[in-house]
Amino acid sequence: MSKGLLWAVLVPCTLISSARAQIPPGDAVNGKRVYMSVGCYQCHGTVGQGSRPTGPHIAPNPMPYEAFAALIRHPPNVMPPYTVAVLSDHDLGDIYAYLLTIPPLPDPQAAAILDH
């Protein structure tokens, strides 16, 4: 692996782990409930898969918590703004905890029909 590529891999991993270290301990079960009740699933799907016209993937492997929270509070473009008045910090942390539980993508072999 080249030195440049090594940095490209390591730096984001470090940022993610440091960001995750700052996450308040969240309740993933409540997070899933809130994720559905405040309508995240409408644009991003029930497991954060996203959809091209409505919203990007947000899970698995969600972005660092600080960036995630900043986007939720002050979203660009058409995403509804989730201010503290409509979504508490506690619930936001729980949503993030739920997104962390989303399993990784399946092995492409399990979806071999996509090659047809």
Binding site: G39, Q42, V47, R52, V78, V86, D115, H116
Partner: protein
């Protein structure tokens, strides 16, 4: 027209007049009876014999007719090559109805709503390239059909419609015929039909019927409407009328001005990054083949916006998944039947303060070739926002393409060939990378319930990919466009785009119309059917069963009007009220609609609701087998929102 027997002075209207008079006599007689009965105690009354009813028809009134105006109408309709009728019955066109089924014996498709009749005609025309006939009442029927006509208008689709009306007030039966009569029936839809007429005689009808057909079929194609007087249909052919069937001319679409075509070609061959954006360009396989030839000659990017299938989905020059990237790098953009040019070159931000950014570089040359420039109406705003375009060629794009190709081939400088090949190789590499990303995107939520729309599309593709298939319609909300991205689309009938006007209720009947067109070619018709769309005209499922239309409806059952709910969420959070009540008015739950049961009740084989993605493939295979036997089927798939 064949004259079956000598014309008689007998007429059905006189029969009706007699019946009405008899009815009045009955009422009068019953009133007398009631008056006589008043002194008696309450209880059932047996009216005395009614001589007016029992005497039947007055001897001086005719009871049969030897010729019929509507037989001539049927002959004219036959001369247009029209093979099918889609119709919900109505007495204002009973004369023509009778002539078409008994005299012409045309293939008839009973619809349960006029909106379904028109949408079915729209779906048929976009596959077959010519219209079927829609019949309806001039008032209530046309009112029902109105939205579907608007969809067809925006979609540049040749819907051919006739409606009945009783013009002469003295010939209207009291009550129902008055509320079903109108001074100017076409007025309510005149903003979104290309032409209409109210023939005053059968000869006038003959000319108008051919004339409106030509108008509908001349690009820009559009719906047309004829209003037929019921008396003219029902009664005999008036004496001394020399009826002839007018000739149907061959229609040559308008080709772009040679000078303008040369100017467009010069821009294309001298551009570093030319991009072609096509929307409703290809109305047949020739249109797709021409666009492939042009793109391969130039080795340029093509963006297919999907109003029709304009370009093969798996062609390496297809850059539709990278539309914004290629448009932003373009120095020349040629739009082919691209009405939303402004939307292609701008990004619009629907924020509290709405604004837009341009997507293109300063100095990018824009060329628009399209028939829509030839015919514009003012009221409805489907013509889209004005764009600063360098060269407008008001002409049919498909018909102009061969001339553009020839000119481009002639003008390509020899020293540009290598650069063009290199450009094509870069685009091919970008296409392959986009496919790789696409397949990874499709893996997200692969095993999830509700079932991912990517999984739904992939499983359906697996079930049909070895057949001669047609995606009969696209619902307006099919925004992830998985079929266009995952499936190998290369035939013009592989898909024909969504509802032109975005009016819900198009998808299900349009798929039925597509199935009617595809049936004689032995093609399998499928559609991914939005749940909200189906509930506008679920009766079309009965039409499919009744008419034995081989079509597979795969429900995209997300149990909501999702787009509207997302819009509400933005409003609610903008106002800091939270989204916990935005389901109100948008969800289709409590109770969930059981589409398999709905379909079963309407005579369509059905499966589901399917909630486990592992069950989907085997069920789709069973359903496809039913459709291949010539019957409709429905699979209810509980799916993700988008």
């Amino acid at each position: 027209m064949s004259r079956r027997g000598r014309d008689s002075d007998l007429s059905r209207r006189h029969l009706l007049k007699g019946a009405t008079a008899a009815g009045v006599a009955v009422v009068g007689s019953m009133r007398e009876t009631k008056a006589h009965a008043q002194p008696h105690t309450a209880g059932p009354i047996t009216p005395p014999p009614n001589r007016a009813m029992e005497s039947g028809h007055p001897p001086e009134q005719p009871i049969v007719q030897g010729s019929s105006g509507s037989d001539y109408m049927a002959d004219v309709i036959k001369s247009l090559g029209i093979e099918h009728v889609a119709c919900n019955p109505g007495t204002s066109f009973r004369g023509l109805h009778e002539s078409l089924i008994n005299y012409l014996k045309i293939d008839w498709h009973t619809c349960l709503h006029e909106e379904a009749s028109v949408a079915m005609a729209n779906g048929y025309a976009k596959i077959e390239g010519r219209p079927l006939l829609v019949l309806a009442h001039g008032t209530v029927g046309l009112q029902h059909a109105s939205m579907a006509l608007y969809n067809a208008w925006c979609d540049r689709s040749p819907v051919y419609m006739m409606v009945g009306n009783t013009v002469d007030a003295t010939k209207r039966s009291p009550g129902g015929e008055w509320v079903h009569s109108v001074q100017d029936a076409a007025a309510m839809v005149r903003d979104y039909v290309k032409w209409d007429d109210l023939p005053g005689s059968l000869t006038h009808f003959g000319g108008s019927a051919v004339c409106v057909y030509n108008i509908a079929m001349t690009p820009p194609m559009a719906p047309v409407l004829l209003v037929l007087d019921s008396e003219m249909q029902d009664g005999p052919v008036p004496p001394n009328q020399k009826l002839v069937i007018p000739r149907l001319p061959k229609i040559a679409p308008l080709i772009g001005d040679p000078g303008a075509v040369t100017e467009a070609a010069e821009l294309l061959v001298n551009a570093a990054n030319p991009v072609i954006v096509a929307d409703r360009c290809a109305r047949s396989q020739a249109g797709i083949n021409h666009l492939v030839e042009l793109a391969e000659t130039l080795q340029c990017a093509v963006v297919d916006l999907g109003g029709r299938l304009n370009f093969p989905s798996r062609h390496v020059l297809n850059q539709s998944d990278r539309a914004r990237a290629v448009v932003s790098q373009a120095d020349v953009i040629v739009g082919l039947e691209l009405e939303n040019f402004w939307g292609t070159t701008h990004t619009f931000h629907d924020n509290i303060e709405r604004y837009a950014d341009t997507n293109i570089k300063p100095g990018t040359k824009l060329v628009s070739i399209g028939a829509a420039h030839l015919y514009v109406k003012a009221n409805y705003q489907d013509f889209q926002r004005f764009t600063d375009i360098d060269l407008v060629v008001p002409a049919d794009a498909q018909a102009t393409l061969p001339y553009l190709i020839e000119t481009v081939q002639r003008l390509i400088p020899a020293d540009r060939t290598a650069a063009m090949i290199a450009r094509g190789e870069k685009l091919a590499a970008a296409h392959r990378q986009a496919v790789k990303v696409l397949k990874e995107d499709a893996l997200y939520a692969w095993d999830t319930s509700p079932i991912a729309t990517s999984r739904l599309s992939a499983e359906l593709w697996e079930a049909i990919r070895n057949e001669d298939w047609s995606l009969g319609s696209l619902s307006s909300n099919n925004r992830p466009q998985w079929p266009q991205r995952l499936w190998d689309m290369k035939k013009h009938y592989h898909h024909t785009g969504p509802a032109g006007g975005g009016g819900i209720g198009y998808g299900a009947p349009a798929a039925a119309g597509a199935a009617l067109a595809n049936r004689k070619h032995g093609r399998l018709t499928v559609t991914i059917q939005a749940d909200g769309d189906l509930m506008y005209s679920p009766g079309i499922l009965w039409t499919c069963a009744h008419s034995r239309l081989p079509v597979l409806y795969v429900m995209h059952n997300n149990r909501a009007y999702h787009q509207e709910m997302m819009g509400l969420q933005r409003m609610a959070n903008r106002r800091e009220r939270g989204v916990d009540r935005t389901h109100i008015g948008c969800t289709l739950d409590d109770p969930f609609i059981d589409y398999a049961t709905v379909a079963k009740g309407l005579g369509v084989a059905s499966f589901g609701p399917i909630t486990d993605p592992k069950d989907l493939g085997p069920v789709l295979k069973k359903a496809v087998d039913i459709v291949k036997r010539g019957e409709p089927a429905l699979v209810d798939v509980v799916s993700q929102g988008r």
